[in-house]
Symmetry: C2
Subunit: 686 residues, 2 copies
């Protein structure tokens, strides 16, 4: 917490900003502090207005600086100079987004994708041969998975790796234009090697997608058989040299197959520790879940920066004088401004708490402390949270930019630059809509499993258990159902809404009902011919995605609720509980049509919702500055002129000028006032 | 219509693309065609990746080119070489956005703000003295209204213009830092004069905001007493040199007051043709409504370009093969993709039709064919439509960018660049939230007027009349109310929903109820002390803005409906009627909670809404390409690689490769298939 930042006026209850800040830093607080210190160093900041080429070179240099600072090796093996630390590695990595998202993502390409693929898909020989130079950045590399023709559908990529037993080599080949690798960081200019994903062919059999280590450039340029194109300017992240690669029968040694999950013997015999080709494929891709985990965290960090800037400004900026002739209102006193910013603070807390839990799960799985189920849960959780947080970040950055008006549009105030850079987060490392479909499929599969057990309460228990690890009992649910049909007085309704149990039940019931409804619609489709089954599924695709989204929102709410309950300070807990209520109730408000249509809320209760949220916002208004200050970013992270107190100084100067003018003999009289006086005088003289 | 663009497969009914395109071009079709021809000229295109300085110089040069092409003088007086053509001028101007939004807005600053202020606020002497050089660009100028401290609240600007009768001069002065003029196009580098808005002081009286013509630079830089700062990089529109200006007792001749609505005699006596200072202020500002009108049109044009690109790609791009083993689905066949793009096509048609009517009203008012009421109606209409279309444009550009995945993020595919440039449209020329509040205040004032007449049906008639110019009779409304409470069968409900009269009634009723509810809440507030009255209003600010938004949406729907009814071709009319239904019904779906809560829809009817919209989208799917092709932009306007057919070629090549491979003897067998066969064989041999 920077001492220089403004703090809210004292009130009761009061947020303990320092303690809340510590709580937000979570389990890897020390790593985050170190990373934030690094991110506060001018040498890693984005320099706005650089050309694409300058920006790319600067970011490459910064990557070298990160190596010097030992900021990027935490996830690598101890014997190679790393720390075998997985959760902490991501925690530190995602904080870099506040310095420059290009820096974060280019580091992610180098060490989180390219290096991690060698680490997780390769074996000892590969680690020893390549990781040292990857870690030191001597070998900048690309992660060549996506093709022009196939992004989200990785299983269908078309690059081939055909084994030639004569020479004991794989032949990497691009059969047509759509199979060119595309959007690869480090491919445009800097990469000298790549991990290339291709269909492994040996003995006439296609064993599916595997990863290969392929040198692509030397000091003179592309190696023979390798070609490519620069992707050129992008909507953001222009410090990264994204590009395309293609291969014309490029030969690599057999040992360049990253063979942890599938190997080819000298004679061409294929073997794998995982028999099912499907499971093998998902296991290989699963090792790359950290990309999604870290985007979830980076999107949250950027949202915090934006809100810290916008709320600071909203507490200083004045405009229009409705309630007084001489003093204009502070923006955050306007209800509309509260509606724009405070629910987004609540969302950001939900994102932050949910992310911390995701990170813990990630660490558990990658430290080898857990089983296959935990790995699958981790993947589903990441696929659920990443879409929400990355979409929310764009929404938050944009609303903050608009809430600061013209000043928000000027680059030096950060919003537009961060938004441009984060734009692609919603479609890379898994397109958000595709990820939510994966989540939905998991929900439907689990539902089918539960359904088979013919237990009426099964799904409810399942949803609740997944969300909070504790089952609601049946009678509790029945009672809840009864409460919903109760058309109580407005007073009772407000009590009803602020009960966290009600919020949870409403959010749980929404997921349960949506999944059950869709499952009912899809029942029987599996027995239809493929095209008809696909048509049935497609006719419910929108609902399926909505159900997954509702599930992810429930997960966020549960994380928020758990963290509120874990707070020691009563004042902080009270304020955070209101903020959790804002989060839960605005989710219900956003889906009010659904709740009413499905009879889970009466019209009378629903009508109390908006006014109750407005009252909560009014109550939280005085804590808004504390809530964003607890995010803990300093001026060197915010780097926005409008968050430096400059606006308050200007307002002060203007108010002082008018005060002196009014006190002087020279104050001009307003024509309106003069006319009113003349009119009055004319009336009196008549 | 470019012949090269793909067209939908023939179907029944069929859209007559050429005729629909002509209809969309509207009353000023010829001007639009000329402007589009100009916008297709490479010389006016945005060159991506230029530095800010290069871009600024290029756009200044392009402004000179526009002068040569006689593209920007239509609104100026005939005797000075203009055409006295107001609607046509805007129609041509807004089309320039597809070349480069910086070009559009810098032209808008020069001729639509700076020049228009001299034209509309000045008198003959000013026109003769300054307009020729403004028109020819010999005098690039700034429109110095906004200050750092005051954007939306123009009446509170603090720059002073004090009359000195000794020298017959005005003294322009900036009293403090917050009063610096800011965000002014042409102020950063190119402007040599400015129209400066300041509080006119003479004889100890402040007569309020007036406009003054002030030279600011010569070839050596700022003139004595004038200073400024460059705003530097912005989130977009970097071809415009926005900057700040301040004045230290700068003296200008008395005749530099633009004196159409207020004058000062040599002895310092103030006079005005408009007695009320308030009305005078709004009259002066009202002359500048064309900025809002043209942003409404430009946002619509950019949305058309984005959708034409994204739909073309969605009809070529394939991903995942759910319904067949060999052919992947075209993106637009996915329900989710239809949900993402088709309602936005519907919104764009609504924006386009509503804009055309706004333009006609604008032309009528500015050609002097109408009275004060019409002028006020025009201002309210512009304040209602501009927020919707500019927000929609950002939403449409973003959804199109995401719908094209990584390709959408690459600058050469246009979305990110257009979005960055259009971002500020939502907060300049009137912040959207502030504009909607103005609309709401007008609605509330009109409601109060009607209410005073003590006529129960007054408001309903008022809303309907404003929206369509025809009053519903009372019995019709009663019957409608009865239908709403009717819980009919699902089949009857679908018929109910597709009846345009139902859609209109639901949209009208929403505005009516919201305005009446808010008015009820605010009743009595006027009699409270100022601060308490302000608090009551503030506690309903969010509802007030929501009511204005609902009103604006109704206006769009009415325009859409009128234009559908005006279509001659039955096929086109059928398809457009479905599209209107999608527009109306998605508006109702977005506010479903409100409709249910207020008892205007039953839960049963509400449940039919989503599925019915999905069926409509499915029906419109095959017409999507025709609907965007009718926007009529050619490849030289779209300028997006992914809209050139390149994706279809790549898909074709890939499919052909696999077809040949399957037909050959060399096709590798899939491990999954092999395992299945081995399993079957093992079973058979047992």
């Amino acid at each position: 917490m920077s001492e220089e930042l403004p703090t809210s006026a004292t009130a009761s209850p009061r947020v303990d900003v320092a303690a809340l800040g510590e709580h937000l830093l979570g389990r890897w607080a020390d790593v985050r502090r170190t990373a934030r210190e690094l991110a506060a160093d001018e040498r890693v900041w984005k320099r706005e207005g650089q050309s694409m080429d300058q920006h790319r070179e600067r970011v490459l240099d910064q990557l070298g600086f990160l190596v010097e600072q030992k900021a990027v090796h935490r996830a690598f093996p101890r014997h190679l100079g790393g720390e075998d630390q997985h959760g902490g590695n991501i925690a530190g990595f995602e904080e870099l987004v506040v310095a420059d998202p290009s820096l974060q993502i280019k580091a992610g390409v180098q060490w989180g994708l390219f290096g991690a693929a060698v680490l997780h898909l390769g074996t000892q020989q590969h680690h020893d041969a390549w990781l040292p130079d990857i870690m030191s950045l001597k070998t900048p590399g690309a992660f060549a998975m996506t093709e022009i023709g196939h992004g989200s559908d990785v299983a269908s990529i078309a690059t081939t790796a055909s084994y030639d037993p004569q020479t004991e080599e794989f032949v990497i080949h691009t059969p047509f234009r759509a199979a060119w690798k595309d959007y690869l960081g480090n491919a445009g200019v800097h990469g000298i090697a790549a991990v290339v994903f291709a269909q492994l062919m040996t003995g006439g059999v296609n064993h599916g997608v595997h990863a290969f280590y392929v040198p692509i450039r030397d000091e003179k340029g592309f190696l023979p058989g390798v070609g490519g194109e620069d992707d050129g300017l992008k909507g953001g992240l222009n410090g990264i040299d994204n590009g395309r690669l293609h291969f014309d029968h490029v030969r690599i040694p057999r040992s360049n197959l990253l063979n942890r999950y599938g190997d080819v013997a000298a004679d061409g015999t294929y073997s794998s520790p995982i028999e099912s080709p499907g499971r093998r494929f998902f296991t290989m891709l699963g090792t790359l879940v950290q990309g999604r985990v870290s985007l979830d965290g980076a999107a949250t960090a950027a949202s915090k920066v934006a809100l810290q800037i916008a709320v600071t400004y909203a507490n200083e900026r004045r405009q229009f004088n409705a309630s007084s002739d001489t003093t204009e209102e502070v923006l955050l006193d306007y209800q509309r401004h509260q509606r724009r910013l405070i629910p987004r603070i609540a969302k950001t807390y939900a994102m932050s708490f949910a992310h911390e839990e995701l990170l813990e799960k990630f660490d558990e799985v990658f430290s080898g402390e857990s089983n296959d189920d935990a790995r699958q849960d981790l993947e589903t959780l990441a696929a659920a949270l990443k879409p929400l947080s990355t979409w929310n970040a764009l929404d938050i950055l944009q609303e903050c930019r608009e809430a600061c008006g013209g000043a928000g549009f000027i680059t030096k105030n950060r919003f537009t630059s961060l938004r441009a850079d984060l734009d692609v987060y919603v479609t890379f490392e898994g397109d958000n809509n595709v990820l939510l479909q994966l989540v939905a499929k998991r929900l439907l599969a689990d539902y089918a499993d539960e359904f088979r057990k013919l237990d009426a309460g099964a799904l409810t228990r399942y949803v609740v258990r997944r969300a909070e690890g504790v089952a609601l009992n049946q009678s509790g649910l029945r009672q809840l159902a009864q409460t919903w049909t109760d058309a109580g007085s407005e007073k009772r309704s407000a009590n009803f809404l602020k009960d966290p149990q009600t919020q949870r039940n409403l959010l749980v019931e929404r997921v349960r009902t949506m999944v059950a409804d869709v499952a009912g619609e899809l029942r029987g489709a599996a027995r239809l011919p493929q095209d008809q089954a696909a048509a049935v599924f497609n006719a419910h695709q929108d609902e399926v995605i909505a159900a997954a989204r509702a599930h992810a929102e429930l997960l966020q709410w549960e994380a928020f609720n758990r963290q509120v309950e874990a707070l020691d300070d009563p004042g902080t807990r009270s304020v955070l509980a209101w903020l959790r209520d804002v989060f839960g109730l605005t989710l219900i408000e956003e889906n009010l049509g659904w709740y009413l249509m499905n009879g889970l809320l009466s019209g009378q209760r629903a009508r109390t919702l908006g006014p109750y949220i407005n009252r909560l916002l009014d109550r939280l208004r005085e804590h808004a500055q504390d809530l964003v200050n607890a995010f803990g970013y300093t001026k060197d992270h915010l780097r926005a002129e409008i968050a430096t107190g400059i606006e308050a100084e200007r307002q002060q100067e203007a108010m002082e000028y008018y005060r002196l003018l009014r006190a002087s003999a020279h104050a001009p009289i307003d024509e309106k006032v003069l006319r009113a006086r003349m009119k009055a005088a004319a009336g009196a003289s008549r």
